[in-house]
């Protein structure tokens, strides 16, 4: 019996409850979706909008140029010689681009089914759409040839050459990789199985970097060509891969559902990149210097002048460029932008999807390496321009490129060239000569000598010349780099004036004298008796050089005990051993410190050595014993400094203790160090000593003895010179091919030859400090003296004196 259902039956109420439940179950999830909708449209709205809008902007980079490096008189030392390479991506060169794009398009038509299809089926569809891409590739190639003013055959030839060379490189790289893998396999023992070999092949078979980058098809293209290609870079052409093909393709392609994906935008010229290929030009790298030889020591003297060609003027200071960018460069740029907020503000540009640095490193860029090019990389590097085209509004926004800032050095390129010529072996001063007094088997007459020269302006602290020999030839660096990099004996890459430390030897004596006076270890009018050897019971150590030579003493030679100036003039060791003993370890260490040993000055030209002082730099006395302190009185023992330290310390003395920080780059000078408190009378005595040393016939820097006759070291007219010689005992250099094995043969075993002068116009106070050191060359006066004399002549020639 059927039940009659009316409104009042409870079943209906249950039904309605169920309908409510149904409502909740069907409506609930839909309504819940409003949650994610709101979350997306609120929390992520701004960033998603920026990300989406970024796709509307097509960005092209506009090339820029690097800043110049100038000398103090505005002469150009380094500049860009702009030129451009027209490069094409490798996969376009081989034609693989055609298949890549055809495949990508075919897949986009049939995404769901693509994974299911067999390779044959996929290939069928790819083959259908491929012709459009091939046609575009060909026409793009023709267009490129037309733009570059070449025939298609020429361009094709270049293309094939590139592809061949990359393939050969690939074989080589794969061979090397294979060797490594097979060696690893063999190490594990048994013969490799075929499966292992197959696995090896698979592992090594990845692409090499040349296959993933672009290659120049036209190098050093003229500006007009580069600009025309630049205009096309980033341009788009719409391809219709399915247009006009058979119905099969249309249906395979997806009918209604995919009609929106019919057109495929491709680059007008696929894979095109216009690359900055400019060279860095160093116009004054090679100069011809005319030197008068009438002022040379008599054996080398000639009437008239000689023209010397000098290579690599200032190369150590300037540095050079390298074409590979490393991660460290990117990090260094980031750090530089932190330090230079002005540059950072100009470089950084806000775009849709973040901030870009207009000076960022891109493929094909060069980086400054060592020297000023390296240290001032962030300043010299230009900022590219950006042209942003909005594809929807057609609006074009251009930020112009900005050429890198120039860097002006305090060096005088002409003076630098002269000094380098003076120190060139061709002139005859920087080679072992008979008059040096110590030719030996290891260094026969004519052996080239390496060294450094510094010319410093006393009042401003500016460096006028900074020369290191052997010179660094850019041509050798480019053509025979291994000769340069592997020369561990001569170290041509080293910038000796700032990088290499030498024991100071006797040249510290005036500084020690003035410091000892400051400390009360030496009082006005005091004299010291030169006894030939410091310790009465030991005649074999701590000896004066005059005693070593013939058993005499300076007291005997002068007829009285030595005053301060006389001690300097004669370079008496006993005098200064005594000073060292009186000062003691703490005192003498502090003395060196106040004159700058242990400091570096961030010149902006690369590596600087701080010098060495003592054995434990953190202690007050630096771990120096009394015996060490005595030695340090004459500039031996645990102390070493660079030629720049020497010139700077002498300049401090000339300034009566005021310290001025040396500078190499105009406008870049940090804070001056604290002045050295020196009593005026002591400075006077020191200066008098220096004057005597070169002007008095008893001075060590006064004359050379050649063939039994005396010749003055200095012969420049109209100048006043204060100077000091130094013959610093150096550790002999030994060749050890194994690095840690037994000592090999002795290579050199000589003292370093120092000479430091202060020079000014006659009657005037000193204006310039010049320090010269010749490595393993022997006597300071004999070797470095004539060189300094020529440098004084050079200063006159360039108008400084």
């Amino acid at each position: 019996m059927a039940r009659i259902q009316t409104d009042r039956t409870p079943g209906v109420a249950v039904l309605h409850r169920r309908l409510v439940l149904l409502l909740a179950l069907l409506v609930g999830p839909l309504a819940l979706l409003l949650g994610p909708l709101l979350r997306l449209t609120t929390a992520r709205a701004a960033s998603a909008r920026a990300e989406a809008e970024a796709k509307l902007v097509r960005r092209t980079w506009l090339p820029t140029a690097r800043g110049r490096i100038l000398d103090r008189k505005g002469r150009v030392l380094a500049q860009d010689r702009p030129s451009y390479d027209i490069a094409i991506d490798y996969r376009v060169l081989t034609g693989e681009w055609i298949d890549d794009r055809a495949r990508r398009f075919a897949r986009s038509l049939n995404r769901a089914q693509w994974a299911e299809w067999s390779p044959d089926q996929r290939q069928a569809l790819v083959a259908l759409v491929r012709p459009a891409y091939e046609a575009h590739w060909r026409s793009a190639w023709h267009e490129l040839a037309r733009l570059c003013g070449q025939s298609v055959d020429e361009l094709d030839g270049r293309r094939r050459a590139i592809v061949d060379s990359v393939r050969a490189r690939r074989e080589a790289v794969l061979g090397a990789r294979r060797e490594v893998e097979l060696a690893a396999l063999r190490e594990r023992g048994a013969q490799p199985t075929p499966e292992q070999l197959a696995l090896v092949e698979k592992r090594i078979g990845g692409p090499i970097s040349e296959e993933q980058s672009s290659h120049a098809v036209v190098e050093r293209a003229p500006d007009s060509v580069a600009l025309a290609c630049l205009a096309l870079e980033g341009g788009e052409t719409m391809l219709e891969p399915l247009g006009g093909t058979s119905q099969d393709a249309v249906r395979l392609g997806g009918g209604e559902a995919s009609r929106s994906n019919r057109a495929d935008p491709a680059d007008t010229i696929p894979g095109l990149a216009v690359r900055d290929a400019g060279d860095r030009d160093y116009p004054l790298d090679t100069v011809r210097v005319r030197l008068e030889r009438s002022t040379l020591p008599s054996p080398a003297r000639q009437p008239g002048a000689v023209d010397l060609s000098v290579d690599g003027v200032g190369a150590h200071v300037l540095g050079w460029m390298r074409s590979r960018v490393f991660a460290e460069d990117v990090g260094a740029r980031a750090a530089a932008l932190e330090r230079l907020p002005g540059l950072a503000a100009e470089a950084r540009v806000r775009t849709g999807d973040g901030v870009i640095d207009r000076g960022e490193y891109r493929e094909g860029d060069r980086v400054g390496h060592v020297g000023v090019e390296g240290a001032m990389e962030a300043t010299l590097r230009g900022l590219r321009g950006v042209r942003s085209t909005s594809v929807d509004t057609g609006e074009v926004r251009t930020i112009e490129a900005r050429v890198g800032a120039d860097v002006r050095l305090t060096l005088d390129a002409a003076l630098q060239g002269r000094v380098q010529a003076i120190m060139s072996p061709d002139l005859g001063l920087a080679v072992t000569q008979v008059w040096h007094g110590a030719p030996n088997d290891l260094m026969p007459v004519g052996t080239a000598l390496n060294g450094a020269a510094v010319v410093l302006d006393i009042d401003s602290g500016e460096l006028l010349a900074l020369v290191s020999t052997p010179a660094l030839s850019r041509r050798a660096l480019r053509d025979q780099p291994e000769m340069v990099f592997d020369d561990t004996l001569n170290l041509p890459l080293m910038n000796r004036p700032t990088e290499r430390v030498y024991p100071p030897g006797s040249i510290v004596k005036p500084l020690i004298l003035s410091w000892a006076a400051q400390r009360g270890a030496y009082r006005p009018g005091q004299t010291i008796d030169c006894t030939g050897h410091l310790l009465p019971e030991h005649a074999d150590r701590l000896r004066c050089w005059i005693y070593k030579r013939g058993g005499g003493t300076h007291t005997a030679q002068l007829g009285h005990e030595l005053t301060g100036p006389e001690g300097i003039m004669a370079s008496c060791n006993i005098f200064f051993f005594t000073m060292g003993r009186r000062l003691g370890p703490a005192g003498i260490v502090e003395g060196y410190r106040v004159f700058g040993v242990g400091e570096s000055w961030d010149l902006g030209a690369g590596v600087e050595s701080r010098g060495l002082l003592g054995l434990a730099s953190d202690e007050r006395a630096a771990g120096v014993s009394m015996g060490d302190a005595i030695q340090m009185g004459i500039g031996q023992g645990p102390v070493a400094w660079t030629p720049l330290h020497a010139a700077d310390a002498y300049a401090t003395l000339a300034r009566h203790g005021t310290r001025v920080r040396p500078s190499l780059i105009a406008g870049r000078r940090g804070a001056d160090p604290a002045p050295v408190p020196l009593p005026a009378w002591a400075v006077d005595e020191a200066m008098r000593g220096l004057a005597l040393a070169v002007n008095d016939s008893r001075g060590t820097g006064h004359h050379l003895v050649i063939d039994g006759k005396r010749e003055p070291v200095f012969n420049a007219p109209g100048v006043s010179i204060w100077g000091k010689t130094g013959t610093a005992a150096a550790r002999r250099a030994v060749a050890t091919p194994d690095g840690e094995g037994p000592e090999g043969p002795v290579v050199v075993d000589m003292d370093h030859s120092w000479f430091v002068v202060l020079v000014g116009r006659e009657g005037d106070r000193p204006r310039y400090a010049v320090s010269v050191v010749m490595e393993y060359a022997g006597s300071g006066g004999k070797v470095s003296g004539p060189i300094i004399n020529q440098i004084v002549h050079a200063l006159i020639a360039e108008g400084y004196l």
């Binding site: 039956t9 079943g11 409506v27 909008r49 299911e116």
Partner: protein
């Protein structure tokens, strides 16, 4: 006195007397102003919005005429409205009686689609699925209309029975469902096949199956779901993997398998609260390369254009449609009509949920369209047929006496 067979019982049909009115012929009372208008109006609104969304997706210039695809969608809309009206004219009981033959025909067509040696000119794979029959000037997708046929057959089967109140009684409805679901899955069109299951549950719920049983079945399926993962096709597995990656914040698949989802989410988020302007939206959609932008992902396009407000409006429209259908079910006492409408509501709600969920990145990319809004003739026309059926049910409230569809005076909720 006219009589009528209702099940096994002969019932006399009496004229209904209305106070102060003429007696009307029995069975002829229509209710033109009925609750299904909610659904109809919601459908019209959504369809028009869809036409606009398709235009935004298709053409960048956006001035002047509508794009060709939009015009086609308008044509489909016109056809759909016509089809809906046609379907509302006969009593819905007619469709009930036709449902089993139609179901047999559906199964036959689905099998036909799968036969391997059917020529390409007749059955052409679209997007890799063998789901369409080529009738020359248009394509016919049996699985679309099959959703309606299935719901009708299921509702007709369940309308007077009770044994689905027992657990084993759930088996016949499951079989009725499994056959077309299986055939459609083999096409492969997992998206469409998936929609049948929520419809089944909705109809069972409305037909009185015990909640306990349904909950048990749901829990068992959820537990067994991971076991189904290896059975999935590679690209389906890849999509699930991609979704998991997204949830984990892993962006490594953003350029390939997750691209569609990421771009959709990006465009939705870029829409913000009120959307971007018309021209900007066209450009953004175009240059961000949103795939399937006029069908599966049209929701993302519309949210980009009109913001969260627009998205909420679309969701609201769909909710309105479902509410209209459920209210129709509430106000009708005919069991077949009720179950038919409930089943159709389940289909539409599930489809909308899946499509919008996939646009929002909450669900993996499953190829289903958004009802009324997405481009597609079969989809739009079928949805309007569903609307017509709902309207037809609402139009004819049956008078008593009607045999009870089920009784369960024992409290088991």
């Amino acid at each position: 006195m006219p009589t009528e067979m209702v099940g096994s019982v002969m019932v006399e049909r009496h004229a209904v007397a209305r106070p102060g009115g003429k007696p009307r012929a029995p069975g002829k009372r229509l209710r033109p102003l009925n609750v299904a208008w909610l659904s109809v109006l919601a459908g019209v609104g959504l369809s028009v919005v869809g036409v606009y969304g398709i235009d935004v997706a298709e053409s960048v210039q956006g001035t002047g005429d509508l794009s060709a695809t939009s015009l086609k969608q308008l044509l489909f809309l016109a056809i759909g409205l016509g089809a809906g009206a046609v379907v509302a004219v006969p009593h819905y009981r007619v469709f009930g009686r036709l449902s089993w033959p139609a179901y047999a025909g559906l199964v036959g067509l689905l099998v036909f689609l799968l036969i391997p040696f059917v020529p390409l000119w007749l059955v052409e794979p679209q997007n890799g699925a063998r789901a369409w029959i080529n009738f020359g000037s248009f394509n016919f997708q049996p699985s679309e209309l099959g959703k309606v046929v299935y719901v009708a057959a299921l509702a007709w089967y369940l309308r007077f029975r009770k044994h689905h109140r027992r657990f084993t009684g759930l088996l016949p409805p499951a079989i009725i469902t499994a056959i077309p679901v299986g055939l459609i899955t083999l096409q492969p069109d997992l998206g469409t096949a998936m929609l049948f299951v929520p419809a089944l549950f909705a109809v069972l719920l409305g037909a009185g199956a015990r909640l306990r049983h349904l909950v048990v079945v749901v829990l068992l399926s959820a537990a067994a779901a991971p076991a189904a993962y290896p059975l999935l096709k590679p690209h389906q597995q890849a999509r699930i993997d991609g979704l998991v990656k997204q949830f984990q914040g892993d962006r490594s698949a953003d350029q390939d398998i997750n691209m569609q989802s990421r771009v959709a989410q990006r465009l939705i988020a870029a829409g913000g609260a009120q959307g971007v302007g018309d021209a900007k939206s066209r450009a953004l959609v175009r240059y961000n390369a949103l795939p399937e932008r006029h069908n599966d992902m049209v929701f993302a396009v519309l949210v980009n254009r009109s913001g969260a407000l627009g998205g909420a409006a679309i969701v609201g429209g769909l909710l309105l449609w479902v509410a209209g259908a459920l209210l129709t079910a509430a106000f009708t006492r005919d069991p077949f009509g009720r179950l038919l409408v409930i089943g159709l509501a389940g289909i539409v709600a599930a489809q909308a949920f899946v499509n919008i969920g996939m646009n929002l990145g909450v669900l993996p990319i499953i190829g289903v369209t958004l009802p009324f809004v997405s481009y597609g003739g079969s989809s739009l026309i079928t949805t309007w047929i569903m609307t017509g059926l709902v309207f037809g049910v609402a139009l004819r409230p049956p008078k008593p006496p009607v045999r009870a569809a089920f009784d369960h005076f024992e409290e088991d909720e």
